[in-house]
Amino acid sequence: MQAIEIKQLNKSYRAIKAIENISFSVAEGELFGLVGPDGAGKSTIFNILATLLKPDAGEVSVLGLDLIKDYLKIRRKIGYLPGIFSLYPDLTVEENLRFFAVMYKSSIKENMKLIRPLWDQLSAFKKRPAGKLSGGMKQKLALCCALIHKPELLFLDEPTTGVDPVSRKEFWDILNSIQTQNITVLVSTPYMDEASRCNRIALIQNGGIIKIETPQQIVLDFEGELFSMETSEIFHLLAIMEKCRLNCNYYPYGNHLHIAFYGNKAELLTEFIQFLDEQHIIYKNLEAINPSIEDCFIELINKKAHA
């Protein structure tokens, strides 16, 4: 059985099509990522799967249950961490957790094992109102509350947005450990670098899925020949790159320029080096590199834009 099965899902808010003909399935025990910018439709998918929003059209089954008929059963079996902070700000950390445990007819003690690594960090703030926690701690508490009834399926809507890179890495370590407890996880993120932590990802933009694959395969499917070079004048270079009429795609990546060639790699590279010399660009470390998920996403969006 698939943990989630979605076929031709559609949802509009008046004239705005939030998601259009979305289909994908998530296997039991999988850590599946929805990767894409704000407004791509990620939250709409979560709200539908969590039985909070009725789809306009399409077939959806969650844990083998029918979205409409069995919505109460579904709710008991899922955990949901929405994109906006949804705990009770004036209840303490401990009260929030107990509230969620009781609501699901469970107890903190029963599932302490599951939240132990998170709770160890939170317990110092047990008596503090949840509204007075820092951003990172709020997220950890929210995750505890979503886990305390040991759901079979966990939905996390942008749990790391606005979180600093170090705390983000910590959060993903926790997600990987949750996965080992036989919990299926569907998580969304706008950060491309997090995609590699998932078993499979769906790259999503403007309400549609661009690609579904393992992160490894997405990288292998990159069509261009990608090179990187370092320069201290990245914006100057970008301004004059318009004159470079090669069959390529280029964009800044920090103080590097990434350039993907389409066609005869050796020829294009020679011509590009000639161009750099003619324009008196000072650069170093021009070399072929493996694309990141972000490079792949950019290639896919460009391809779609030109199609």
Partner: protein, 239 residues
């Protein structure tokens, strides 16, 4: 000339020191990145620099005006763009710009010219009468930036301006930042995207209320002996 000079700026909330004696300068036309873990004190420091929060001690000169005695003049000479863009969804593109321009007291005729030029530059002229609600996120972002620039501030503060936008739009926005800086506007920007930190002329890293590192991206990488700002950040915060 420095457009931001901060000296021993400190903010305490009761017994908690959110910002602890930070000192730094930012040159006119510089792109200055302000990094740090969540809760490091970045927002508090930024609020003080914008004249929205009184410091407990220390001083600062922003755009040539003293934080203590001329906070009103500071506000008139800086622009601010938050990650939530603070635009009115139920007003059109044009109405949003008109509203913000009027708040800053720009005369009507002059304001119209500025809005026209600004929309032209952003290639959004045809969208002037569209509700902000109905334009894509990337456009909202550019519009929010243009709105923050209408009163021609000397410094613009950008608080996670690229949060959640797609990788292409993110890069286009940095091109816009770069063009603005090359016209002499000072850019003070926070971000959680470490590749963006590399676009800054200089960056600083805050931790536990203190400003721990300031320098060019290259200087910081050399100092910490790593290849990227992402590694500088990780190494630094984990210390």
């Amino acid at each position: 000339m420095h457009s931001i000079e901060v000296e021993n700026l400190t903010k305490k909330f009761g017994h908690f020191t959110a910002v602890d004696h930070i000192t730094f300068q930012v040159r006119k036309g510089e792109i200055f990145g302000f990094l740090g873990a969540n809760g490091a004190g970045k927002t508090t420091a930024m609020k003080m620099m914008c004249g929205l929060l009184q410091p407990t001690s220390g001083k600062a000169t922003i755009a040539g005006y003293s934080l203590k005695s001329e906070a009103k003049l500071i506000k008139r000479n800086i622009g601010y763009m938050s990650q939530r863009f603070s635009l009115y969804n139920d007003l059109t593109v044009y109405e949003n710009m008109q509203l913000f321009g009027t708040v800053y007291g720009i005369p009507r005729k002059e304001l119209n010219t500025r809005i026209f030029n600004s929309l032209e530059e952003l290639q959004m002229t045809e969208k002037a009468k569209t509700l902000v609600n109905a334009i894509p996120l990337g456009w909202k972002q550019r519009l929010a930036f243009a709105t923050a620039m209408l009163h021609r501030p000397q410094i613009v503060f950008l608080d996670e301006p690229t949060s959640g936008v797609d990788p292409i739009v993110r890069r286009e926005f940095w091109n816009l930042i770069y063009r603005t800086a090359s016209q002499g506007v000072t850019i003070f920007v926070t971000t959680h995207y470490m590749d963006e930190a590399e676009y800054c002329n200089r960056i600083s890293i805050m931790s536990e209320g203190e400003l721990k590192l300031v320098g060019t991206p290259q200087e910081l990488k050399d100092k910490m002996q790593v290849d990227s700002i992402a590694d500088v950040f990780v190494k630094f915060v984990n210390r």
